[in-house]
């Protein structure tokens, strides 16, 4: 009987290490430089759309996180009472310093993702890939993989690699599955650069 107990205990121990200790060691966590609420901007009071700030330029290139100039359009001086807004104006807008945002969805160097093809031609919504990020009140903690330097969002929050929501994880498998489902035929260099 005993060897089996040892075996079960060993498996349990390994599972605990793998499930909790391993991600804690693998990822480095850091807070965003500034508190930001998407909901304030996109909700009833703000009424903005994603594309009001996150735009593509005329050549189709996605511009990513807007620069402080974009923020300054409304927040040249504080319009509310919040501490973070005051910080934004004082530390970034007035001295015209870019905010060192940590990007959740930054892909590895060799991945090429055209937003225009997916949004304009493919008629996909931002939420399809980014989830309900646009209606969040706070910015999540940013996890960086200590080995690869990638954001944890690339692998997904679930350490086993399974995800219940479509926007969790941005691995190649996901791209390929969706392309396959939609009869897209691609070569490697269609999405790699």
């Amino acid at each position: 009987m005993k060897p089996y107990l040892v075996l079960i205990a060993g498996i349990l121990f390994g599972a605990i290490i793998g499930w909790f200790a391993f991600p804690a060691i693998l990822y480095h966590s850091s807070d965003q430089p500034l508190h930001f609420s998407h909901n304030t901007h996109t909700g009833e009071s703000g009424g903005m759309a994603c594309t009001d700030c996150h735009t593509t330029n005329e050549t189709g290139r996605f511009q990513g996180i807007p620069s402080v100039i974009k923020c300054a359009e409304c927040h040249a001086s504080p319009i509310g009472e919040s501490v973070s807004e005051k910080q934004l104006v004082e530390h970034y807008i007035t001295p015209n310093v870019e905010i060192p945002w940590l990007v959740y969805s930054r892909q590895p160097d060799n991945a090429y993702f055209p937003h225009a093809a997916h949004v304009t031609l493919g008629k996909m919504k931002c939420e399809d890939c980014h989830g309900p990020h646009g209606s969040s009140d706070t910015l999540r903690i940013h996890y960086t993989n200590r080995i690869s330097g990638y954001s944890r969002d690339v692998w997904g929050a679930n350490i086993s690699g399974f995800s219940s929501n479509r926007w969790e994880g941005m691995k190649m498998d996901k791209c390929v599955r969706c392309h396959g489902d939609n009869n897209r035929r691609d070569g490697c260099v269609s999405c790699h650069k």
Binding site: G60, P114, A116, K123, N182, C188, V189, S190, K193
Partner: protein, 263 residues
């Protein structure tokens, strides 16, 4: 979801050897476009990194009959039985079904160099050294092309980043098909003599299609049956005969192209 089947392109090139003067602008443009790292001190012609080499071939006649052509050589984008693709043990090489471009993913590459052995054009290159850029050069890296690491194979992919850009531009306008004017590889663009014609070989109206089927156009090692998509063009008979015929070769001390040839 949109399930429109994409247009099938077949990108190719025709290089007019009679126009090429061997200036090397294409090779420089290629290196800059594709983030090919600069040579390190110990590099030589044989283990350096280039995606495009230019060989000198002469007819070995006495003056005034002596003639020389310059042959730019790079990945010939074999269409059939692509030698490098079938041999790669881990699918790091593929032929894009929508463009016919032979792609190489360095991040998947093991560095076994079997594809280099398989390539009859010697158009694949291995990173024998760690790539090193000076700080100034780092600023100039092309953000659309991922730099490669040491120990992997790389090669010409018809400036794929430019195809990405062209597709992006078309998509912004709501188009599925690219504007041919938006997709021109760096070597084609930089050639001062306009010796290289680039385009879609499936497009019967494109200038390349008629040029490729011209009787003065030929492909190297066409008898191997790999259907390369890079054509060469010359009005000179001896050049076309040189390409057709395997030659009796003699060993020479230097590895580059001076060749005994009687046209």
């Amino acid at each position: 979801m949109d399930t429109t089947v994409e247009k099938k392109y077949k990108f190719g090139m025709v290089i007019n050897l009679d126009k090429c003067n061997g200036c090397g602008a294409c090779a420089v443009a290629c290196a800059i476009e594709n983030n090919v790292p600069p040579a390190v001190q110990k590099m030589n012609k044989r283990n350096g990194l280039t995606w495009l080499t230019i060989s000198t071939v002469s007819n070995n006649e006495q003056y005034p009959q002596s003639e020389t052509v310059f042959v730019p050589m790079f990945c010939q984008q074999c269409e059939k039985e692509t030698p490098c693709m079938t041999v790669c043990p881990q699918n790091a090489v593929d032929v894009d079904p929508t463009t016919g471009i032979v792609g190489q993913v360095p991040q998947r590459c093991l560095g076994c160099r079997y594809c280099m052995t398989a390539c009859p054009y010697h158009a694949r290159y291995f990173n024998w050294w760690d790539p090193e850029w000076t700080d100034g050069m780092k600023q100039q890296l092309n953000p659309d092309v991922a730099p490669r690491m040491r120990g992997v194979v790389e090669k010409c992919n018809f400036c794929h980043s430019r195809l990405h850009s062209a597709k992006d531009k078309a998509a912004t306008l709501g188009n599925r098909e690219i504007n041919p004017a938006d997709y021109i590889p760096a070597c084609v663009e930089s050639c001062p003599n306009k010796a290289i014609t680039f385009g879609d070989l499936n497009d019967t109206t494109a200038p390349i299609t008629s040029l490729a089927s011209n009787s003065n156009s030929f492909r190297f090692l066409s008898r191997l049956g790999t259907e390369p998509k890079v054509y060469y063009h010359s009005k000179k008979h001896w050049v076309r005969a040189m390409a057709e015929k395997a030659q009796t070769r003699s060993r020479q001390a230097d590895g580059i192209a001076e060749e005994e040839f009687h046209g």
